[in-house]
Assembly symmetry: C2
Homo-oligomer: 431 residues x 2
């Protein structure tokens, strides 16, 4: 691919069929549009990344790389939007999963894996004395909220403005299909606005069942924001004072920052913690863990699903936790993430176009510092995806990225080389 | 095991540690009770089957048989509570799943499998022009209800009294953690009570978003009841007249009665159909399919999950559908189910203790005809689980059973032999 093609934007290139890098993705998408509303919906929708200028369908993956249906290769910085913490198709995890599969997966009963995994998680999370399992983040965040309502016999849920806790009516960000009763008792406060939070607590004194927070603020289309000193501890204290259940939604960052839950990094202690994503390294599982005081209400709030006790994801998760611990993966992710951040910052300085990283280096959010509409940054990410010599870097333009333990220094450096070319092209087209 | 032990009830046997058939299950359960609310919760809870007198944990499975953690073997008539329609670890399905796994499962994008599966399902279901996917039944029933609300801009949901549509607040059977607003616009009618349904429709005229039905009534702790002639067609007609969305929850029976959806058996046509369970033969997947008129609201109501586009369950489902069609599995299940029903009825006649079967033979509900409290029937099921010579039959005392394509005539006949001994013991202990 010649550098001179950098003067044609990826979007314009889409029109030139003989240079269409995503032809097979587009062909599949046209078929999908016939039989699936939006073709691809939800967080993997092309509308949420780069319509017309990114791959739409994956074909295979290994480690920190994947290939799309057009045969193009990507150094991956999204990791399946979080689940892939050890790398795709991790041999040790897959060996354990395969061994469990030889016995079976979905049965009439749970297996010993469920007990072992609950024991393991409870031993990892300092405040927890019990665990339950689901398949998806929403399964456990929504259940946790109900446990809080059952425990307190109160209705109000206080949550972060712009936070994401899943697709259920009490929390999803869209008004479509939602009725006013769904959110009649859900109230929002702003991140790091302790006074606003305190006001909200006073306004609804005696009526608040729970406060649900993420360990730091990680909105889409916006910088990640770490908690101000004492913010989460102060929320915790107010919850204790008022008998309010504090729920930590650690689905996005869980196990990437600290094996015992991200509250350990930010110095506070919730009553319930929700995990999913990284727990199974791609195997479908979620979990909620809680304090012993909540065991009785937790045992009353109905929770079940046809595949929620399946053995393979639990066996895989046990192995994932072993490896995370053995290899001190959170520290490794921090180092690789830091290498990436420093490299991108150097690149920005060199080209006079600052790249701003926010959030933990292991789960970073990036954008150009001089724009808030992501327009040029989208071009940069599109050029990175297109890459060099058939190898791109999957840089998401407006969602936080994820590092995995499979990213070596050489992978990071290769991604930085791809970023350099993408930066050149981006700046060339706008000069 | 000697027949004379039949004078000791299974429950009493639990106390005799040297004769405890479920010792390893109980030991695991004691560990579980330390770290999991209720030890086992939801539909697999021992409290929902036979506390102290059934296996609690599975170890492995193959075809129509499984083994518990005590090494005991069972002829299975629950099939994982529905998912296992072709038999556990079906070689053709697992081969396809393994091939997909070598490429990968959870990616940044969907795979071609999602498009292929949507195309396949839409071609099977007569009224449907689109499909979406989840992991669990609740994922799609709750989403379907929201699509109906979005489409109609109305709030009311009419549903069957005693019907099961999942764990979400609008429908779950427990009041724990639910607030009044969750169900403010949910109203119930009784199965086969067309006049009651019509009254409810009149009472809420112009406010009803959807009616959600199962293809026949399959409550737990109660006989399955087929629709009276014209009942579902009349509901459909009223929905059409009033612009109400008719949702068929076919999660339990789907693909066991008819490949194109159970409405084909009962002569009506819904607007949305929800599948899960049998679709993946144990791989976690659910789907909702709908009419073209609902495509726009369907595209607006947010739907996503970390693992919902994963490729392996979709690849498996494609193969499951092929086999269901190739082998005409619904007809096969009907034949095996009929053999089981006739055998159990003969047994009842022979012992002067009628066994009443209800619902489709492929998804039957059984109980003793002369009791409604299930007391003796629980003993019968416990004796069947205990079985003969280390082989029992997993007969659920108060949930419908499921047949699978792996049940041969010889398996059914062996189960009937186990049932004969269980019947003898049950009657001996109560004489």
């Amino acid at each position: 691919m010649e550098l001179s093609s950098g003067t044609v934007s990826p979007q314009e290139r889409i029109g030139a069929s003989n240079a269409q890098p995503y032809a097979e993705s587009m062909a599949l998408f046209r078929r999908a549009a016939q039989v699936i509303p939006c073709g691809i919906y939800g967080h993997q929708s092309p509308a949420a990344t780069l319509p017309g200028a990114s791959p739409y369908y994956a074909a295979r993956a290994e480690g920190c790389r994947y290939w799309d249906v057009d045969g193009r290769e990507y150094l991956d910085f999204i990791c399946g939007y979080g689940p892939i913490v050890l790398g795709y198709r991790h041999p040790e995890v897959e060996e354990v999963a395969e061994r469990q599969r030889r016995d079976g997966d979905t049965f009439n009963h749970p297996t010993a894996r469920m007990v072992e995994l609950a024991e393991r998680l409870v031993s990892l999370v300092d405040f927890a004395s019990w665990a339950v399992f689901g398949k998806n983040g929403s399964d456990v965040t929504s259940w946790a909220v109900r446990v809080a309502r059952e425990s307190t016999r109160r209705k109000k849920i206080l949550r972060l403005s712009g936070g994401y806790h899943g697709i259920d009516p009490w929390c999803n960000h869209s008004p479509a299909g939602i009725i006013e009763e769904d959110r009649a008792h859900v109230h929002t406060f702003h991140w790091n606005d302790l006074e606003g939070f305190a006001q909200l607590m006073r306004r609804h004194a005696g009526k608040v069942a729970c406060v649900i927070v993420t360990p730091y603020h990680h909105p889409a289309f916006g910088d990640s924001i770490l908690p101000a000193r004492g913010f989460l501890k102060a929320i915790e204290q107010k919850c204790r004072d008022e008998g309010v259940v504090l729920i930590l939604d650690d689905i996005r960052a869980g196990f990437r920052l600290h094996l015992g839950g991200s509250h350990r990094v930010f110095g506070f202690s919730p009553d319930i913690i929700c995990f999913s994503k990284a727990l199974g390294n791609g195997h479908p599982i979620s979990a909620a863990l809680g304090r012993k005081e909540l065991r009785v209400p937790a045992s009353r709030v109905f929770l079940t699903g046809s595949f929620w006790n399946s053995a393979v994801p639990m066996a895989a998760s046990l192995k994932v936790l072993d490896i995370l611990e053995r290899d001190d993966v959170p520290a490794k992710l921090q180092r690789s993430g830091q290498r990436l951040r420093e490299g991108l910052e150097r690149l920005g300085t060199e080209f006079g176009k600052d790249i701003l990283g926010s959030g933990p280096a292991a789960v970073p959010f990036y954008r150009f510092n001089d724009e808030s509409n992501f327009r040029q940054w989208q071009r940069f990410c599109a050029y990175a995806m297109e890459g060099e010599g058939g190898v791109g870097a999957f840089f998401h333009p407006h969602h936080n990225w994820f590092l995995s333990a499979a990213h070596t220094d050489a992978d990071i450096d290769q991604a930085l080389e791809i970023a350099r070319v993408a930066m050149q092209r981006t700046l060339e087209e706008t000069i």
